[in-house]
């Protein structure tokens, strides 16, 4: 075990081309899918949390159900839709990073929506009452609400990124874990461990943890800077 970790650390500093390829594919997948999920989920989450419209309760329950969707089910769904017998086969997206991103966006967006909805629903009634009492119009009320949500937006992004970087079920099904093409850190760890290549598996595991730590530190620093 100790030797494997030593070898893994040496591999990290050796600029191994395969390792670098896995890293860049992972970064592309996780950053793109988490940002897209945030862009879609934020306005929807705010609308669900602050809005009062018929059907709101149904949408909240539906979203909470989607939050618990198992990644392999999502992967299976996209596999069936884009495989050789699926209705979207002509798009030829199966086993590409693009489809992996789409599948992850579908998995992560409900989490963004759910967390924003919960936070906004807690503050919106009191904020609305105060802002209406001051005579503020719709636009000003919306901007104030967004301003109140800044911290939670960072937290929600962290959650989305963490889910994206740790996800393995859906991306392995729609990506196929093809070396030099769709292999990301989580699928590569499984692949190399199955082959008995623990060194690369441990190296990838270490990088995964370090990357997660780096993103957390960066977001925390941004939060602290904003609070000044």
């Amino acid at each position: 075990m100790g030797t494997a970790i030593q070898k893994a650390i040496a591999l990290i500093f050796s600029s191994d081309p395969e390792l670098l390829n896995i890293l860049s594919t992972t970064a592309q997948l996780c950053l793109t899918s988490s940002v897209l999920a945030l862009l879609i989920g934020l306005p929807v989450g705010i609308a669900l949390g602050a809005g009062r419209f018929p059907g709101r309760g149904v949408l909240v329950v539906l979203n909470r159900t989607l939050m618990g969707m198992p990644p392999v089910v999502c992967g299976l769904l996209f596999y069936m839709l884009f495989s050789g017998v699926g209705p979207f086969r002509h798009l030829k997206l199966l086993f590409t990073v693009k489809l992996m991103i789409i599948a992850q966006v579908v998995l992560i967006t409900p989490i963004v929506i759910g967390n924003m909805e919960t936070y906004v629903a807690e503050i919106a009634p009191s904020l609305r009452e105060t802002a209406l009492g001051l005579g503020f119009g719709w636009g000003k009320r919306f901007l104030l609400l967004v301003n109140e949500c800044v911290y939670s937006i960072f937290s929600v992004y962290l959650l989305a990124f963490a889910r994206a970087i740790a996800e393995v079920g859906a991306v392995s099904m729609v990506g196929g874990a093809i070396a030099w093409k769709t292999n990301v850190m989580t699928t590569a760890i499984m692949q190399y461990t199955n082959r008995g290549n623990f060194t690369l598996g441990i190296a990838l595991g270490l990088i995964l943890m370090l990357l997660s730590l780096a993103v957390n530190i960066a977001v925390s620093l941004m939060q602290r800077r904003l609070s000044r």
């Binding site: 503050i123 904020l127 009452e129 209406l132 009492g133 001051l134 005579g135 503020f136 301003n147 800044v150």
Partner: protein, 217 residues
């Protein structure tokens, strides 16, 4: 200032029924009554926060400012919270000083205590000239000194702007100190109204007499 009759029901239960009434301009009207008598509902409907059963505002078009029981401190400094509602720097300084929170003007409004938040919220509301101010227990979380300072500012606001103030309060002493007019609500009905000095000393209804006795007046 005329208020047309309205009611408020939840399902089949009517929680408030108010007949046509007139609020005096440039004066403070205290709304008193026991818990659950409909004071806050009255304030919310008049402020346009809640809808009455009639689905129209009981007040004819005029600018209304409203301070809820629990005011929200926006995530910015105290000074910027006040600036949201008006840019008059002199007025801002006067209000911050009057409510003894001038030393907190650069502090984050989120870090204020309950009493400080209430003072900041009142100062923020008074940054603008409204025709009618509706205040739902604005001094409930303030200490005696701050309460008296707030009452002074409210009386000044009335005098300087000619606005009417509808003050929901649990404190009969406060009603006596600053109100010229009183509305007494009981079980969602307006049971008595009139000059504060007369109504608080010689009530006409049994409910108000018992209410005043309970508070030792």
């Amino acid at each position: 200032m005329k208020i047309s009759a309205f009611s408020k029901s939840y399902g089949s239960r009517t929680v408030l029924h108010v007949p046509d009434l007139e609020l005096p301009d440039g004066r403070i009207t205290a709304v008193i009554g026991p818990n659950g008598s409909g004071k806050s509902t009255l304030a919310k409907i008049l402020a346009g926060i809640e809808c009455s059963d009639q689905k129209r505002s009981p007040l004819t078009a005029l600018s209304v400012g409203y301070m809820p029981q629990k005011s929200y401190a926006f995530r910015m400094s105290v000074a910027r919270n006040l600036a949201l509602n008006g840019s008059d720097l002199e007025r801002r300084e006067k209000l911050l000083h009057g409510l003894q929170i001038d030393s907190l003007s650069r502090h984050s409004a989120k870090r204020l205590s309950g009493g400080e938040t209430a003072r900041m919220a009142l100062a923020r509301l008074l940054m603008r000239d409204y025709k009618l101010l509706i205040l739902d227990e604005p001094t409930a979380s303030m200490d005696v000194e701050s309460t008296l300072a707030a009452e002074r500012l409210l009386s000044d606001y009335c005098r300087d702007t000619g606005a009417g103030i509808l003050l929901v309060t649990h404190s009969l002493q406060q009603a006596r100190r600053i109100a010229q007019h009183v509305l007494f609500l009981h079980q969602g009905e307006l049971r008595e109204q009139g000059e504060a000095s007369r109504l608080l000393s010689s009530p006409e209804t049994e409910e108000l007499r018992r209410f005043l006795e309970f508070y030792g007046i």
